[in-house]
Amino acid sequence: MLDKKETPLLVITDDDEEDRDLMAEALEATGCEAQIEFAADGVELLELLQRKHAEGIPTLVLLDINMPRMNGHEALEKLRAEDAYRVIPVVMLSTSGAQNDITSALRNGANAYVRKPGGFDDLVTAAEHIANFWLDLAERAAA
């Protein structure tokens, strides 16, 4: 818990390793100092949450949609059904602009839906929004 208060923990869940790295780079470019963990799909995310449970829950989870084993929609449902994880802010991050993806993500309790932008400059802008709003919110809540 102590650790969490000092540096927020952010989990990037994406099956695309390049996208995970790019997002981490983008967050770094915004000057965000969160501790970043990676999960390659919904199953890995849940395992990571269990493993980290003793230290506390993550400050923010970024969740891709199209992933093998357990996709973003399924992972989100699992998080929202679990008392311990229900309060974790989740930002869906996907290339999909399909209305049914957006609707079901928000209906299942995603806090925001961000479409993966084309270029890195736009990705930094998205990361800035994510870090400024969600991490700041968590910091205030903890203070």
């Binding site: 780079e25 084309g118 400059d121």
Partner: protein, 389 residues
């Protein structure tokens, strides 16, 4: 067994008028004995069967039929023989000595030791039915192929929208990431190269999007009444920036009528044509583009998009609607080369056709027709296949 006669029914002293009728009848009539031999046939029947009465009487009737049908002939007559007084029917293939296989529809009844039979040649309607069945089978096969190719196209569309775009997104991301990382160390040449790579990736992206859009024209589109005048004005409004940039004058005919169609696609149709007209302009003239009504009939509406641009040489007009075809280098005039192919498909899915009249240095006119009839009421399920990625 007596030799067959062509004059009177068997074993009867026929009254004169019956005999006259027998000879005159246009119906093909005959009498067959218990052993299956023809004993009498009227002239019409002799004509139908193409054999003399003597020839016909010399062997059991069944032997003149197609070998495959001989059993059927025997069975049909045996059944008929067991139920006297009732009429039986059978369609059997007769081997005509001159014209080959004929399908004959037989109607016969058993009475007092004889079959009284009438026959009609149904070969033509049989063939027509056979051809119709073949055609129906061919159509069904075509429909299956079409469904399969549509399914393939759908999966291609998904591949195009996701798998092809994904690497391009990465290229753009990495190029921008490199230029960020280099920061002040990025020399102008390197920056130019990186921007070149990003530009190329974006062009490819636009190209994929246009191709995808082209592949979707005509799929699950709506048919609602839409005013071509409104559609034209919307299209022109969408191009306001380009029109202002080029100092162009664009007009839309007030007389453009309302037809049934897909408003989004019709807007795209006019927009692509006007945008195309704006693109190929002479540098020294005020570009003018007019969207005008040319003709209205009960069946069709003809619209023209006319410009005073550079024109198209006659020998290249046919290339205009080919997918990927660009008549000019990218440096001269921008575009993906798919816009006019999309235009053609939109016109065709609206029951029309499109053609061009053009004169070099004077201008080009795209003429197109659209179906002006009321659509047949049909349940259309609007599909929501947005570019899922």
């Amino acid at each position: 067994m007596s030799a067959a006669s062509v004059t009177t029914p068997a074993n009867t002293e026929a009254p004169a008028h019956i005999e006259a009728m027998w000879g005159l009848s246009l119906l093909n009539l005959c009498v067959i004995d218990q052993g299956g031999h023809l004993v009498h046939a009227n002239p019409a029947m002799v004509g139908l069967l193409g054999r003399s009465a003597e020839e016909l009487g010399a062997a059991p009737m069944a032997s003149f039929f197609e070998p495959e049908d001989i059993e059927a002939v025997t069975v049909a007559f045996a059944e008929g023989g067991q139920a006297p007084g009732t009429t039986h029917e059978a369609v059997l293939r007769y081997a005509h000595p001159e014209t080959g296989i004929r399908w004959l529809r037989w109607s016969f009844t058993w009475s007092e030791g004889c079959f009284y039979a009438a026959a009609v040649d149904v070969t033509e309607s049989r063939q027509a039915a056979g051809e119709a069945a073949t055609r129906a089978a061919e159509l069904e096969k075509l429909a299956e192929e079409l469904a399969r190719s549509n399914a393939e196209l759908q999966s291609f569309a998904y591949t195009a929208s996701h798998d092809l775009r994904e690497p391009l997104r990465k290229v753009e991301n990495y190029c921008q990431l490199i230029s960020r990382k280099l920061g002040d160390d990025l020399d102008p040449k390197l920056e130019k190269y990186l921007n070149g790579a990003v530009g190329a990736a974006r062009r490819m992206q636009a190209f994929i999007d246009a191709l995808l859009d082209y592949s979707r024209v005509g799929k699950s589109e709506v048919r609602t009444p839409c005013s071509l005048k409104d559609v034209g004005e919307l299209a022109v409004a969408n191009l306001q920036m380009a029109i202002a940039d080029r100092g162009a004058v664009v007009t839309v005919d007030e007389a453009l009528p309302t037809i049934h169609g897909d408003p989004k696609r019709l807007e795209q149709l006019v927009q692509n044509l006007v945008s195309n007209a704006l693109k190929f302009q002479k540098p020294d003239a005020v570009p003018t583009v007019d969207v005008v009504l040319e003709e209205v009939t009960d069946e069709h509406v003809t619209v023209a998009v006319r410009d005073n641009g550079i024109g198209i040489p006659e020998d290249r007009i046919h290339e205009v609607f080919e997918v990927f075809r660009r008549l000019h280098g990218r440096g001269e005039y921008e575009g993906t080369g798919i816009g006019l192919s999309t235009v053609k498909r939109i016109v065709e899915t609206h029951g029309g056709r499109i053609w061009i009249t053009s004169e070099v240095d004077v201008g080009t006119t795209f003429h197109f027709t659209l179906d002006a009839t009321e659509p047949v009421a049909e349940a259309t399920d609007a599909e929501t296949d947005e570019a899922a990625a």
